[in-house]
């Protein structure tokens, strides 16, 4: 009986933690989007007011940011400074895949972020700033969607964690 009780508690703990982690993932995803939006805002300011080159802007922003965005931005800046060849989009995609795959951003956000690289480095400051603003709005929309569903989804994750635990226990008993 004692062993059964320990087993039940272990299963309950595991499934509860699993549910909690799934709920956390949603929260992290939201926070990472918020962080990405802040970075895009800084990039827009660097381009609009300082007319910095992308490499310079990435370096300036990267130095003040936390991991993994720091590595992502500094990596791009370094690769661009080296001038060993490679188009901008290739550098952007390579560094995004390398540094941000474990950042907590969803797959869709990462794909959209990689595509967005194609809009950087254009011939016109105004156009560049507009592209960044549009992307910021896109992030804002994604954040709003997550925000609306976040509470429900998080509660659902917790409930599913507990329910699955109970289900497993019933099955085993």
């Amino acid at each position: 009986m004692f062993l059964k009780m320990i087993g039940i508690s272990l299963i309950m703990c595991t499934t509860f933690l699993g549910g909690g982690m799934a709920a956390d993932k949603i929260k992290v995803q939201y926070e990472q989007l918020k962080y990405l939006q802040k970075l895009i805002c800084r990039l827009r300011s660097e381009i609009r007011y300082a007319k910095s080159y992308l490499g310079e802007a990435f370096y300036q922003i990267g130095m003040a940011e936390k991991s993994p965005y720091r590595e992502w931005l500094l990596g791009m800046s370094e690769q661009m400074e080296e001038k060993k060849g490679g188009r901008f989009l290739e550098i952007w995609e390579e560094q995004t895949k390398k540094n941000l795959h474990n950042s907590g951003l969803s797959k869709e956000t990462l794909v959209r972020l990689m595509d967005f690289g194609g809009q950087l480095g254009g011939t016109d400051v105004e156009m560049q700033v507009k592209a960044l603003e549009l992307y910021q709005e896109e992030i804002e929309l994604s954040m709003e969607e997550i925000r609306e569903e976040m509470r429900t989804k998080m509660r659902l994750c917790h409930c599913l964690g507990i329910m699955s635990g109970i289900f497993v226990i019933i099955l085993l008993l």
Binding site: G55, I91, G121, D124
Partner: protein
């Protein structure tokens, strides 16, 4: 260093070809890339076609041009909006990248370029000591005269100006070192990278990079107290007025202008007035008949010949 700077802005495929050619980069003057046309070099004064691995002419692709534009602009063409309007970008080392394509107009004025189809990379050449022969004529009592360098394009006026600046700043047997202010509107004199000149401009030189000449001269006078101001390619009435203003402020002026001869310069309204008032004390005329940068003649303020390359030096000295 020069080799790296040039290779850095070229597309990968052309970099490989150039490496195989084993060129002397000091002799490379121009490189012309035109979409779907052979890649041409001006090497040691002659046109040369770069060959691919099959020994045919290397044909430049759209991708090559696009790739080169990314390198030239540090992946940020928007940062060169102003320069693109003029049709060229100056890169690290002072090399000029000219381009043509479809012009975007806004209110009848050029706003930008797109669909760029031709690129001309013109190398900047730093020739230390090329101004040695002119110093006896442009100095008096260890001071430099107001000097105007007159030259058609591609005759080395910027190269000569750069060496004059360096020697005036450092001082030499003809002159004591002076504080020189350089307004480098097109980054060709100093070849600045992040504000620091990559060419030798002397120990007493302050440089304003990418700054319009008129504003730049005023800024220098107010902020740095230069004894000599150097500017490249004056041409507009505003430029001439700014030069006159700087002269009235007690600065010595060294400038360059595009013209084939003294006569041609006199025919231009704003310069005619300036020559008549004898504001410049020396005129150096350059040519490229025997070699690039050949000093054809040096004239005084009234247009009298002091030196001619066709006559032994000193013959005309007044």
């Amino acid at each position: 260093m020069k080799r790296e700077r040039i290779l850095d802005v070229l597309p990968q495929s052309i970099r490989v070809l150039l490496e195989q050619e084993q060129l002397r980069y000091a002799c490379l003057q121009e490189m012309r890339l035109r979409v779907d046309k052979p890649l041409l070099l001006i090497y040691d004064g002659r046109e040369r076609m770069l060959r691919n691995r099959r020994d045919g002419p290397y044909i430049v692709s759209k991708e090559d041009v696009r790739e080169m534009l990314e390198y030239v602009s540090n992946y940020s063409l928007y940062a060169y909006e102003q320069e693109m309007r003029q049709g060229f970008i100056t890169i690290e080392g002072g090399h000029r990248v000219g381009m043509t394509g479809q012009v975007i107009l806004e209110n009848g004025k050029i706003k930008n370029l797109r669909y760029i189809s031709s690129i001309n990379l013109r190398m900047s050449h730093e020739v230390l000591g090329c101004a040695d022969e002119v110093f006896p004529y442009i100095t008096v009592k260890r001071q430099v005269h107001h000097t105007l360098i007159i030259s058609p394009p591609r005759c080395g006026k910027t190269t000569l100006l750069r060496d004059i600046v360096r020697q005036v700043s450092d001082g030499n047997q003809w002159i004591d070192g002076m504080v020189v202010g350089v307004v480098d509107e097109r980054s060709e004199i100093g070849g600045c990278y992040k504000g620091v000149p990559q060419n030798q401009l002397g120990i007493r030189t302050d440089i304003l990079d990418c700054c319009p000449k008129v504003e730049g001269m005023m800024m220098l006078i107010r902020s740095m107290g230069p004894e000599v101001i150097a500017v490249d390619e004056i041409g507009t009435t505003e430029d001439v007025h700014a030069v006159e203003y700087a002269m009235h402020c007690g600065c010595r002026l060294i400038a360059t202008v595009h013209a084939e001869s003294m006569e041609e310069l006199r025919r231009r309204p704003c310069f005619d007035h300036m020559i008549a008032r004898k504001q410049f004390e020396r005129y150096i005329l350059l040519g490229n008949q025997s070699r690039v940068g050949q000093v054809e003649g040096i004239f005084d303020s009234s247009g009298s010949l002091l030196y001619s390359c066709h006559t032994p030096a000193g013959c005309y000295e007044s």
